[in-house]
């Protein structure tokens, strides 16, 4: 068995979607709660958000994705009030990953995005005894 590297501030983390199923929490509800007012007007209920065409911000190539992820990554996540200094650290980390389309991020990258705390403090929080919002170390699929 390969040795497990000790996580550090460059270790990547992501939202484990299965964690929500296991803990009985609804990820789509949580994502919907993070939408801005404009997007919530478009999708009043989580069930209203189906699959949409996502336009790549640089190439304009189109892919089919969940509307909630598309809104969070391409619109709400770019609004200045999506993460504010008043946002609790665990929520800010969760929102930063939502805005990043759940592409894995390191504590250092998270610190740059949420502009609060230190990479070491974020790492300590993520490695605490309780998993917060399903954020766990990312294990690349081989």
């Amino acid at each position: 068995m390969a040795p497990v590297a000790r996580p550090d501030t460059n270790t990547l983390f992501h939202i484990d979607l299965t964690w929500f199923e296991k803990t009985g929490r609804d990820l789509r509800e949580e994502m919907h709660a993070a939408l801005c007012e404009d997007c919530r007007a478009l999708y009043p209920m989580p069930a209203d958000a189906g699959v949409v065409d996502r336009v790549h911000p640089l190439t304009a190539q189109v892919t089919r994705v969940d509307a909630l992820w598309e809104c969070l990554a391409d619109h709400c996540g770019r609004q200045p009030d999506f993460i504010t200094p008043a946002t609790p650290l665990t929520t800010a980390i969760f929102r930063a990953l939502l805005a990043n389309g759940n592409q894995p991020m390191s504590p250092e990258q998270l610190r740059q995005r949420i502009r609060k705390g230190s990479a070491a403090a974020i790492l300590k929080l993520l490695l605490g005894s309780e998993i917060q919002n399903g954020v766990v170390p990312f294990e690349a699929q081989v």
Partner: protein, 520 residues
């Protein structure tokens, strides 16, 4: 313009080798790697220009998400290295956040499946910014050469080296199939010609003697002959950079073929010296201080340099090839450069060699002997009128008997005495040591090889020299000259050992005394 990915692989593909092959074939003469690299870049720039001209002729627009397109239309996708795609299908877009828009399936060249792109979309997107039409290259050929020429050349050389069709000598590349045959008879004739001339001959001069068939292109004949001579151990290229001159290995001086035993030196540990000792070390111009680094900066080139002869060089008939001395000769990158020493007084010429391995110039044994030079004599080297000559001179004076240091080996130990000896040359007062007994010195040198440290050797030699001076002082240069009678060591190694040893105290002016403890 091609992406940076393209430039990073240019020079490594089979197509590049094909192009290089065609280029050399067309030339019918060897070409340099730089010429080949420039040719490949030129080809690629031309291809790109043709591609852009073709795109311009097709009137293909640059894709922008805000615009409308029709099935069958061609587009240039700037975000995909300006590749061209054809619109295959159009459907309605679905995203209430973006409003009304359409999605088109575009088949890009060299791809198996179409990709989807947004069109007729009012939402802002960076690709909607106005762009200049793609009718000109983003990079001029000159800019492409300046930016990518050297990397392409460096990648191309190993690739061509692996290809059996190519042969190369130094930086000349040619095709094996175009090589004129140089048979053994030609090489025997070349050997005889060099032996008769008793000097290094240029390839072109040898070619005239060999009289190869007139149908052969001269550049191809030169290359083939150089290649054949380089592959035959009888011959050695002893010319400067870019001036190939062939000589016979068996006619070269033995001391130029192999570093003389007297010049063998162990790598020295570098020790920080005081400013005074650093000045002394720098003035001594000893190749043993190079520690194998022949690329040390020579500073501003000089027309002449005066050296003080040391015993190892006196025995070997050599002088140090320090960067300053190297600056008096043409640049060379091979093991040996053959040149001519010119005696400044008699204008007599004799062969000399600058030797890369060991950094020394050889060929002075007879000249030293004829002038009965002792270690400590001043020797001046001067740039010759002809680049391949080096004028050598000493400072003669009327012969008279003088009180000088004389070195002997007694029972395996180095000893010194003050004796009256005839001298006919000027010398460095601190470094002059007349050899009283070469055989005894050799025995002492063998014993010194077993001496572990230079500091211990210095402690042994110092009292012998100190007894010749009333105040018990010995100059650092005298110690350096004396140590070199029995063990080859550079000035920095000797002065560093002096500095580090607790047995000696510096009393200024480059002089040292034994401290009280060592004296006991």
């Amino acid at each position: 313009m091609p992406s940076s990915d393209f430039w990073s692989t240019l020079g490594t593909t089979d197509a590049d080798v094909e192009r290089a092959y065609a280029f050399v074939l067309e030339r019918g003469a060897p070409v340099s790697s730089r010429e080949l690299a420039l040719h490949l870049i030129g080809c690629r720039v031309r291809e790109e220009e043709e591609r852009l001209a073709e795109i311009a002729a097709r009137s293909a627009p640059v894709y922008q998400p805000k615009d409308n397109y029709a099935v069958g239309q061609h587009l240039i996708l700037s975000a995909f290295d300006n590749r061209v795609g054809e619109v295959k299908q159009i459907r309605a877009g679905a995203n209430p956040r973006l409003g009304e828009f359409q999605v088109m399936a575009v088949q890009l060249e060299n791809e198996s499946k179409p990709r989807e792109f947004v069109m007729a979309c009012a939402a802002p997107h960076p690709l909607n910014e106005e762009r200049a039409p793609l009718t000109a290259l983003a990079l001029s050929p000159e800019e492409a050469i300046a930016q990518y020429g050297e990397p392409v050349r460096l990648r191309l050389m190993p690739r061509l080296s692996m290809d059996k069709e190519f042969v190369h000598l130094d930086d000349g590349w040619f095709l094996r199939g175009l090589l004129p045959q140089i048979h053994a008879g030609y090489l025997n004739l070349a050997e005889a010609a060099i032996e008769q001339a008793n000097d290094a001959l240029r390839t072109a001069d040898l070619l005239k003697i060999l009289e190869l068939p007139g149908t052969i292109k001269k550049t191809a004949a030169l290359f083939a002959l150089n290649l054949a001579l380089a592959g035959d151990a009888r011959f050695e290229n002893v010319g400067p950079t870019d001036d190939t001159r062939w000589f016979l290995a068996r006619l070269e001086l033995p001391e130029a073929r192999e570093r003389p035993e007297a010049l063998q030196v162990a790598p020295a540990r570098l020790v920080a010296l005081s400013a005074e000792l650093e000045t002394i070390a720098a003035e001594l111009f000893d190749e043993a201080d190079l520690n194998g680094d022949a690329n040390a900066s020579a500073g501003a080139p000089r027309e002449e340099i005066t050296l003080v002869l040391t015993y190892p060089h006196r025995r070997a008939g050599t002088l140090p090839l320090t960067p300053l001395v190297r600056g008096l000769l043409p640049a060379f990158a091979r093991p040996r450069l053959r040149f001519a020493f010119v005696d400044a007084t008699t204008q007599e010429k004799f062969a000399g060699y600058a030797v890369t391995e060991g950094h020394y110039i050889a060929g002075l044994t007879h000249w030293f002997n004829a002038r009965r030079l002792s270690p400590g004599a001043f020797i001046t080297l001067k740039r010759g009128a002809n680049p391949l000559t080096l004028t050598v001179d000493y400072q003669p004076q009327r012969e008279r008997s003088l009180w000088v240091r004389v070195a002997r080996g007694v029972n395996g130990h180095l000893t010194f005495s003050q004796e009256k000896r005839p001298l006919a040359h000027k010398y460095d007062e601190e470094m002059l040591i007349v050899i009283g007994d070469p055989i005894g010195l050799e025995v002492a040198a063998q014993a010194a090889r077993e001496q572990r440290s230079l500091a211990a050797l210095l402690e042994q030699i110092f009292p012998e020299l100190a007894k010749l001076s009333g105040a018990g002082r010995v100059h650092a240069k005298t110690l350096y000259s004396a140590v070199n009678l029995i063990r080859r060591a550079g000035p920095r190694a000797v002065l560093g050992a002096l500095t580090e040893s607790r047995a000696f105290n510096s009393v200024g002016g480059g002089y040292f005394v034994l401290n009280d403890e060592a004296r006991r």
